[in-house]
Structure formats: structure tokens, C-alpha cells
Amino acid sequence: MSEIETRDENEIIREIRAEYDYGWHVDDSPIYKAPKGLSHELIDVISDHKAEPDWMRRFRHESLDFFHARPMPSWGADLSGIDFDNIHYYLKPTEKQADKWEDLPAEILDTWDRLGIPEAEKKYLAGVGAQYESEVVYHKLQEDLERQGVIFLDMDSGLREHPELVQQYFAKVIPQNDNKFAALNSAVWSGGSFIYVPKGVRIEMPLQAYFRINAENMGQFERTLIIVDEDAYVHYVEGCTAPIYSSDSLHSAVVEIIVHKGGRCRYTTIQNWSNNVYNLVTKRAVAHENATMEWVDGNLGSKVTMKYPAIWLMGEGAHGEVLSIAFAGKGQHQDAGGKVVHVAPNTTSVITSKSISKNGGRGGYRGLLEVGKGATGTKSKVVCDALILDEDSRSDTYPYIDVKENDVDLGHEATVSKIGEEQLFYLMSRGLSEGEASGMIVSGFVEPITKELPLEYAVEMNRLIQLQMEGSVG
């Protein structure tokens, strides 16, 4: 922190902007912007705006008390820079949600156009939700999926239109007092996705949500709930960016997923927040009998990220995978990883983590593999590899393993490597610049994960990595 504060603010912003494509903001005219700070009055304001049922209002108030009662986490990244009094917790950008892009205010539409979302929707998405500040301003699902009974709404509409379903599952996977930031989200949540995929329905193209912060000192607290019914399949993708400001913003989401018997859910994140965003997210899924849950978690942006997507394997034969990429550049700390808990017998899991750090960045893997009593026949493999690009950078590995059963098959591998002069020379002798050469080595390093992505996202991930790499040279 002290290192950053001693330098000229504008200089820092200039440096960061040079490496970040999404740092611009637009001047918009929000419908409502809550004053900074957290209070029970604020919660009533949010609940009023949303015309919520009483149970949700009470849930929010209780959650705020839990938030205040809990201490800040004493482990992981340094969160002492967060000033909870200097954040806008609710900002309503438009009067109502649009299902046609052209119905959005011009400056907001311009933002989505510059991010390429309407274009992507046309080409390869089955549905899109676009959240701007606190609200999902655009939402659309392909009609044939609607006809098959698929529900893809923002969370607020989900609560209004499917109250029983929401009440049945909401905060059941992640209780409101799970941790300090889950409590915060439970108090002030707004937006996010609500998805229900009926039995046997397989959605071949991804559903995408895009999260954009535009205002300074903004807090974004989306809440996502995905229910995949028996033998159904969905691939949900989220992306996120924000403008660069000299003071910090906070993003604290909660994502809960339930995959029923034989179902499969893949959740892909390409997190590219600007370097002034604290990104503190709780993600957890439960997988029932023979179900599959996969988290593909790419963390490229933010100032600090603490995120460990978790899977509870509750039914026999369930399978869980966590694929995690964390890229920490200048001034960034990516405390990423994954958690798998084997509850039922004959469950399998794989955690693959690739962390890259450069220019003084700090990356790492923090993971928990737990095998409970009775989870016989568990098979699990944890691989965490770190690539450190220079002497100033750092990578940490905290692979916790807790096994309470004997009949299990566990593997763990960890490597730490540096880009060698010889490898660089070899590639440069073929005409690649130093930046292109190290970018190629890094792309290769994360290839076991990018090859799992649909082509468009793999290309985007590689492009973002290349961008970060080019910023580091010369």
C-alpha cells in the first residue's frame, strides 16, 4: 500500500490504463443513487425500490447485523484498504429492464456496444443478462428455450415471478452468515441471474451474464442462483469489467448452484475488473447423484481477489472440477483457488490451478480438499502450477487436505517455474518480440484450461493475457 501512496495518482492511473482496455466510463443519469454508507435505512430503501416480500426484507436486515458482527477475515489478502463508508451500495441506472438493446439509454447502450455484448449475443449465445451498476438493464432468452420451460431472469425478476422456487433454494447453499462478505451480499444484493433448467433440457449454447461497474466508489452485489434439474445441462458464462478510478470499488457476489441427479452445470468466469476493484466472491455448488459441476474461473483483473469456488459432492457418483487461472500483475493480489468436499461415496474431483505473477504481482492457490466419513471410493487429483515472470513477483500455494476416510485415491502435484532465458531466446530467434514470446509461453502454460473454453472465450482469454504481457515489456 505504502508503495502506491507515495506515487502520483495520475501516474499510476496512466500506467494501469496502458494495460487495460476497459478503463473508460460514460456520463449517465441514474434514476436513483443511494448516498454512501451502509445502514438499516438503506436496506429499506433497496427493498422499497424492489417492492420485495417481507421475508426478503427481514433476511436483508438480519444479514446486515451478521455483517457488522463478524470480524474481517484475518487470512488471505490485505483488505484493510476497504472503506465501507465510502461506497455507494445501490445505484439504479434505468427505470425498467429492456429486452431490446435499442431501448436502453444511449450512453449505456454505447457501453455494451464497446464491450461487444450485442454482437456476441447474435453470434453464439442462447441468452444474455447485462447488469449495469446494481440492476440488470437488459435481459433476453431465446424463445425456443423459453418454450422448453427454461427460466433465465435477473434475480429480482426471479423473486417476483417465481417466489416459491426462490424461497426453496435461496441462501440454502450459502447461508446468509457463511462469511462476512456473504452476509454483506445478503444484506444489499441486487441483480444477478436466476436460472432454472427443467429435467432433461440441454442448453447447447452458453447463457451469458455481463457485469459492468460505471460509477466511482461503486459496490456491486449481484446474487446468482442456478438450479439444474435432473439430466439437464447448462453452461453459464460471466464477464466483468469496470472503469479505472483513483479510489476503490467493491464487488461482492454470491453464487449458489444446485445440480440435481445426472445434471451438469459448467460455470465460466472471465473476471477482468480494473485494478481498483476489491473482488470478494462466494461461490458454492452442490452436486447430487451422478451430477457434474465444473467451475472454470479466470481471474485477470481486480486489485484484490479472494475467491475459492466450492463443490459439495452430495450424491454417489457425483463429479466436480475446478479449473482456475489467476494472473496477478502490478499492484494485484489474486488469492484464488477451489474447494471440493466429498460427502458421498464414489465421487470424483479434479482441481487444476494455474497462477501467473509478474511486475510485483502476487498470485496463488488456496484450496481445500475434504473427504468426509463415508465417502469411500473417492478419487481426487489436485494440480497447482505457478509461473513467476520476474524477481519482484510472488506466488503462494496453500493446499489444505482433510481426509476422514481410508479407502480413497488422492493425488497432488505442484510446480513452480520461471520463464527461462533459453526458452525466450528460442522463440525470439523465430521473430517473436520479447513480449510476444513470453505471452506465448504464458498462453501455453494456461492451455490446459483455455482448451476447455468455447473458442470465442479461449480467444478472449488469450487476448487478455497477451495484453497484460505486452504491458510488461519495454
Partner: protein, 273 residues
């Protein structure tokens, strides 16, 4: 020796009194003069430890080898201050004795990136990617010619390759990148006779009006397949004798000893690896 003997023309690649030292100051290459043109095959033959690989690395611009005196000229312009990527863009190529593995990057995607980097430089820094079809046609033709199995193109570059596969892929890169001067550092090591024949055939095919080659070796064997126009005997960091193809046969017969100046042991000198 600064220009072609008997003419005033400057050769495509010229080394003038080239001296190269390691980072600790140890001098390995001690004054080399050499001129190579398109359509020429030069062999540099020398015992292990004579400094041949150091010469190859220094020509390509390896940062661990410093040119302490003399010049490397391409088209009459100095390359000494240029980094390896710039030298490659100007038309130099080095086939490595020990090519490095790049896990996660397929041979195909690597070749496409390398070609596009060169095209971008040639296009004034603007992207000018090779059309997909053109790339594919060229790649398939080159692989066919060098008998590189198709599946190798989808594997990660040099990752788990056998010695022979690595050398073939080096020559494949040469064929695709179309340098004007190729330096082949001990390309024959690790190859069986069949592979050697194929690789040498590839080199022979490429040397012509658009490429010249410098073949560095300590065995005469590869020269049975790549008939050099010029043979240079390299010992203790210097070229101690130059001649035509007959010189290689003489070496084969008599060994290096008659060529090595008194007082220099054949195993002394540079760091070959």
C-alpha cells in the same frame, strides 16, 4: 577478407574479425572472417569444444554471448546491437542443436505466430496475418517433403519429442519461415540415417536463389548428404583452414590434429552446450 575475394561486392552475411566472449569475459570466438551468399552451402567443421555453437548463438544474438570486437553484417548492415527477433526478421535462422520445449503451444499455432510476427514487421508494424488457406497449404507441403507425421503438427512444440522429431521440426520451421541465411547447429546429432537423409534433402531443397546455409558439425557424415561448396575447419575459436568439398574428405581421413595450431588441445576452448 572484408569483401568477397576478387570482387568489391559485399556478401549477404559477413563476419569480420568476430570476437565473442562469455559473460565472465572468457573469449570463445577469437577473430572469425566469413562471407556467405545466397545459393551457397558452407560447412564449419571442428572438434567438440572448439566454440562452434558459441559462434552460432552469437550470430543469432543470444544475450549470454557478447560480441567484444568485429562485426556481423547482413546486407552490409551491422546486426551486433540487434536482438534475436530483429535478426530473425532480417532473414537469419538458427536450427538449434537442443531445441526448447514450449508446453501448451502446438507446432501449428507456434508456426502461425512466428510467420505472422515476421509479416507484421514486414508490413511496418501493422498486423498482416497469413491467410488460413495459404498457411495450411504451405504447412502440409513442407510436412510432406520433410516426412513430418501429421499428428506432430498438433502436439506441443518439442514437448516430449524424440531427438529426431525435434530436428525435423527445426527444419520444418526453416522451410516455413523462409530465412535468407540458415545456420544449422549440429543438426545431424541424434538423427538416424533415414532421418538424416530426409533432413539433408530438405536443406538441399531450400538452399538456392533465396537462401544460403552454414552447416555446423563435427562429423563429416551429414556432408555426404549436404554437399558443401565451402568447408572451413574451426579450432580454438578460429577458422584455421578453408577450402572446397575435398577438405571435408581430408578431415575424415586425417582427423583434426593436423589442422590444429601447436599448443592448442583439441578438447579445450569453448562451451559447446
Amino acid at each position: 577478407m572484408s569483401t568477397r575475394e576478387g570482387t568489391n561486392e559485399v556478401a549477404l552475411l559477413e563476419l569480420r574479425n568476430l570476437h565473442v566472449a562469455l559473460e565472465d569475459g572468457t573469449e570463445i570466438v577469437k577473430g572469425v572472417d566469413l562471407a556467405v551468399d545466397l545459393n551457397e552451402k558452407h560447412a564449419i567443421m571442428g572438434p567438440n569444444g572448439s566454440g562452434k555453437s558459441t559462434l552460432a548463438y552469437a550470430l543469432m544474438g543470444h544475450p549470454a554471448y557478447e560480441v567484444t570486437d568485429g562485426e556481423i553484417l547482413l546486407d552490409g548492415e551491422s546486426l551486433v546491437d540487434e536482438e534475436a527477433d530483429e535478426r530473425a526478421r532480417r532473414g537469419l535462422f538458427l536450427a538449434f542443436q537442443y531445441p526448447h520445449a514450449i508446453p501448451g503451444v502446438t507446432v501449428t499455432s507456434f508456426l502461425r505466430s512466428a510467420i505472422n510476427a515476421k509479416r507484421k514487421a514486414a508490413n511496418g508494424g501493422e498486423d498482416d496475418p497469413i491467410p488460413v488457406k495459404e498457411f495450411r497449404t504451405e504447412l502440409l507441403a513442407a510436412m510432406e517433403q520433410l516426412k513430418v507425421p501429421r499428428e506432430l503438427a498438433q502436439r506441443y512444440l518439442n514437448d516430449g519429442f524424440s531427438g529426431g522429431e525435434k530436428k525435423r521440426v527445426e527444419i520444418l520451421q526453416m522451410a516455413m519461415l523462409k530465412p535468407r541465411i540458415a545456420i544449422l547447429d549440429e543438426t545431424d546429432s541424434g538423427l538416424d540415417i533415414d532421418a538424416l537423409r530426409v533432413v539433408a534433402g530438405g536443406v538441399n531443397e531450400l538452399v538456392g536463389s533465396t537462401m544460403g546455409a552454414v552447416v555446423i558439425t563435427h562429423y563429416q557424415r551429414i556432408l555426404n548428404y549436404i554437399q558443401p561448396d565451402h568447408v572451413h575447419v574451426f579450432a580454438d575459436g578460429r577458422i584455421v583452414a578453408s577450402g572446397g568439398p575435398e577438405l571435408a574428405l581430408e578431415l575424415e581421413e586425417k582427423g583434426y590434429d593436423p589442422f590444429i595450431p601447436a599448443g592448442v588441445a583439441s578438447e579445450s576452448g569453448g562451451d559447446e552446450s
